[in-house]
Symmetry: C2
């Protein structure tokens, strides 16, 4: 058995195409979805993310607003910017790039965002809506994972799903989404005993641990669908001195002989995350104009 | 093997004693914790709950405020009452008895409560806080279940917990709490396949389905701790014509030969729920006065 490789890059392209179609439809109504991205400080990784987000936003025909603030920006100044963006009718989505500098309370800033514009889905009200089965802005990475799972498996109802990791950004919302899809959901984590046995129950396994090679092949049930959320940068001397490459949380080469389908790293979940950010922005834009959320962009 | 019967009635008495001790301590600071209960319409079951809540509130030395509104009360009128209670410094906890009449949007009313006074823990912000591991007002029934589990088992870290049912009131917050306690948590429900096998994994099983005799003995792993949240009223002709009695979701007589410990119905989870309501009110009162939450009343 060799697993099908789920091509997240191609699927993300498809999502972006759906986004572009919706954007074109909205433009006929003189509506241009707008995404504001706020970057505080000059973390190089964050810089790259923000640049990619802006580029893809514009490529989809949407308006992109970039706000850069210095490392020593006061919390209150950032909150005031968020409030101005909340009030700006051209802005339908607001993303504050994390992590923020230590002197700023991330929760406070995130919760200052209008929940209707919270396209990252990190606002406590969106977390609460998701946790209680109400419609919510869903965090982009688990949203992307779910869209891939649905695309691959169709109806997920009744399947055994195992989520490894319990972060607020991936593991917990992923578990909520899978439960909403009527999966039987198990969340395991660093304190889980006999984790191999637990993961081996999963017809669906979502690995979101942040540790390279964490999941070996003998943890995976034959025929499972494996979603690897990990993005771990490691040295790659074979590519030349000082070079690095990205690997996931799953031992890809071994697991692909056991699984039915698996996402690669890079080229799996990663590209889906930004595509889902655009999707959430279009959804937020539609809802703010009293239009229904596009069915093919949300869950 | 015969299971220990977890005496929820006695433990609830202990919780009420802890509450009374905290109330006495607060009175020395001229603070009287107050709970406002709002009842709309004249559902007989709700009447009984409300009466019990008021009585136990007063027995614990707290102030009890009862508000009764007619069946045909307008939603806006109810929301205005909630706002007045939000603003009332004598009121530290607000409970709107559910269900509400059909013409009133329950979510809208619950979300009108100040989250700091939401002692039922149903406000979307408290659901979000719980879902993201922040301190929150925790719904009373799962809070009671967790206090019993901790009292029985001590540290829950690493244990396999299975929650049967995924309601917003019990199943989902219970799963969040168990995850926070570092259990490996599985949520199963009506769409779960091979539910017997799934439940049999549980060292801790919480049954919150609302169907009498739903959980038979052969679903229970030997030595498990079983918490039965079900409160199902059935005919009891043996007690006389027209008489009824309460039974849980678990086949108690058979399961007690397999489990290490089990809660009975009645006398298990039920009494804990009101005790935890009082506990949440004292916690809310302390927090509103800038005092720390009493460690023995919360999780």
């Amino acid at each position: 058995m060799t697993a099908a490789i789920i091509d997240g890059k191609a699927f993300a392209g498809e999502i972006r195409e759906r986004v572009a179609n919706q954007v074109a439809r909205l433009k006929e109504m003189d509506i241009v979805p707008g995404l504001a991205v706020v970057l505080v400080g000059d973390d190089p990784a964050s810089e790259i993310y923000v640049r990619n987000k802006n580029r893809q936003t514009e490529e989809a025909g949407m308006a992109s607003f970039e706000h850069r603030l210095g490392e020593d920006t006061e919390e209150q100044e950032l909150v005031e910017l968020v409030r101005r963006l909340n009030a700006d009718p051209q802005v339908h989505g607001i993303l504050v790039q994390l992590p923020l500098p230590d002197h700023i309370d991330e929760n406070l800033v995130i919760n200052a965002i209008d929940p209707a514009k919270d396209v990252d889905g990190f606002h406590v009200i969106n977390a609460g809506r998701l946790a209680t089965g109400q419609s919510a802005m869903v965090p982009c990475t688990p949203l992307g994972c779910l869209l891939m799972l649905r695309d691959r498996l169709g109806d997920l109802s009744g399947r055994e799903a195992v989520v490894i990791g319990r972060s607020n950004i991936v593991g917990k919302p992923m578990a909520q989404l899978l439960l909403r899809e009527n999966c039987t959901v198990t969340v395991c984590h660093s304190r889980t005993r006999d984790i191999a046995d637990v993961v081996r129950r999963g017809e669906i396994v979502v690995a979101a641990v942040g540790r390279r090679d964490f999941v070996p092949a003998d943890w995976i049930r034959r025929g499972a669908t494996v979603i690897d959320v990990g993005i771990n940068r490691i040295d790659a001397p074979e590519k030349g001195e000082g070079k690095t490459r990205l690997v996931g949380d799953v031992q890809f080469d071994a697991v692909k002989d056991v699984a039915d389908a698996i996402t690669p790293v890079p080229g799996g979940v990663g590209p889906m995350t930004i595509a889902c950010l655009l999707a959430n922005t279009v959804t937020a834009c539609c809802l703010s104009h009293g239009l229904p959320a596009p069915q093919d962009l949300t869950v």
